[in-house]
């Protein structure tokens, strides 16, 4: 019964995440549409709940996202997303352990850097190593990355400011 409840909780959580992701990407104007939803969710969840379960939530969420919004190479959102979530979980557990705004900001920045790094490596591996017909470098722009970091950090800051205050 408990596991069934957990499954239901997982499904509901993932569907809510999907709706949030599509709303942000499709409806919000730029630069708000550049907010990295998985990062915001992971950081807020870790700061509030501190449970390892977030890695599996992200796995399910990114698996669905990967089939609904296919990228050039399957897994270029799933693999970086899950691995960076896992790393950030460990960062939070052993390095940035306190529940404060600046910890949340550091975790957010760490996750974004890890995500983009893994995504670049994965795309490069596929575009050069496997799909050698018409090889293309992955899409990357420092200015856009800066906007993404700023927008995501701002959202994290606002959410944590409200949630941590309520928790205290």
């Amino acid at each position: 019964m408990k596991s069934l409840l957990h499954m239901l909780q997982l499904c509901l959580f993932v569907i809510i995440l999907l709706v949030i992701q599509f709303c942000v990407s499709y409806i919000f104007p730029f630069p708000l549409s550049a907010v990295h939803v998985p990062t915001s969710i992971v950081v807020v969840y870790l700061m509030v709940k501190e449970q390892r379960r977030i890695v599996w939530y992200m796995f399910s969420f990114l698996f669905l996202l990967e089939i609904l919004v296919p990228s050039n190479f399957y897994g270029s959102m799933l693999i970086p997303g899950v691995l960076s979530t896992f790393l950030v979980y460990w960062f939070h557990r052993f390095f940035f352990t306190n529940q404060s705004l600046y910890t949340g900001m550091i975790l957010g920045a760490s996750m974004l850097v890890c995500y983009r790094f893994f995504a670049l490596v994965y795309d490069l591996f596929f575009s050069i190593g496997i799909k050698n017909t018409d090889p293309q470098y992955p899409a990357f722009s420092f200015s856009l990355f800066g906007i993404e970091v700023l927008a995501t950090e701002l959202v994290i800051l606002l959410l944590l400011f409200v949630l941590l205050k309520r928790k205290a």
Binding site: V55, F63, V69, L78, A139, S141
Partner: protein, 272 residues
């Protein structure tokens, strides 16, 4: 910190992810993915449609008068229509002069094409890609096919086909490079490229060519699979430095990438 535990968990997670990717690539997960895509893509399409309405840049939100707003929208439509018609006229004139006798407008071609509704767009801000849903797309739509609006305006190319979902990389994507030509006297050619700043540029224009603001940009036909003469936009500004071998120009697109709803994919131009 429990290094051993960390590396063990990290390795196990990586292996699991690789297994999922391999299972997807061999098609073993299709029985799960198909129903999920069918159900959830409806929701995605609904949200995308709302987004298109919200992000419609042809409507100035600062205008308050209803009449003024309607007049503005109709003027925009007329302007786009005029540009498309003018591009067709200029092309026909050039073709007649050279006794080639080819018509350029999309509706007058006997090309094979598929028309569909945009169901979503890629969520990564680094990409400008829209998604279309077609039954058996894998069998019918080849990669690299040009994609046009209902008015024949070129908007991008097909870059991936994942079972029933077709990914179309738009002109403003940073990786888009398409052969382009100007409908001026010299028939200047160059390369239309997207920029991450949501703009389109025409690069590699020879320094000695005369380019003026307002020139019409069309596809040059030099990119494989993309025919000559599909309208792209108009020249907005020219950047010319005397010490550089090429000049470049900023292109104002005829079709806004944020408001695409119905697109056609040209899959065969052999009958042209």
């Amino acid at each position: 910190m429990g290094n051993a535990r960390f590396f063990r968990s990290f390795s196990l997670l990586s292996i699991l992810l690789v297994i999922v990717v391999v299972l997807h690539l061999v098609g073993a997960l299709r029985f799960v993915e198909r129903p999920i895509v069918r159900v959830l893509s409806k929701g995605s399409e609904a949200l995308y449609t709302i987004g298109v309405r919200e992000n419609d840049e042809t409507i100035l939100k600062t205008m308050s008068g209803v009449e003024l707003r309607e007049a503005y929208i109709s003027l925009q439509d007329i302007y786009t229509k005029n540009i498309v018609e003018r591009s067709e006229l200029l092309q026909l004139q050039q073709e007649n002069e050279n006794l080639k006798g080819q018509l350029q407008f999309f509706s007058e071609k006997s090309w094979t094409y598929y028309t569909g509704r945009v169901t979503g767009k890629h969520i990564d801000p680094f990409e400008s890609t829209v998604l279309l849903f077609f039954e058996k797309a894998e069998d019918t739509i080849p990669l690299g096919s040009p994609v046009v609006t209902d008015q024949g305006i070129f908007v991008g190319t097909v870059t991936a086909v994942e079972e029933n979902i077709v990914s179309v990389r738009l002109l403003d994507d940073g990786r888009t490079k398409v052969g382009a030509a100007l409908l001026n006297e010299e028939r200047t050619v160059g390369v239309a490229e997207g920029g991450f700043g949501k703009s389109i540029r025409m690069n590699f224009i020879p320094q000695n060519e005369k380019v003026v603001s307002g020139d019409i940009v069309v596809t040059s036909g030099l990119t494989p699979e993309i025919p000559y003469g599909l309208p792209i936009g108009t020249i907005e500004a020219i950047e010319k430095e005397p010490y550089e071998p090429f000049q470049s120009a900023v292109v104002s697109p005829l079709a806004s990438p944020n408001t695409l709803q119905i697109l056609s994919i040209i899959v065969d131009i052999s009958h042209a």
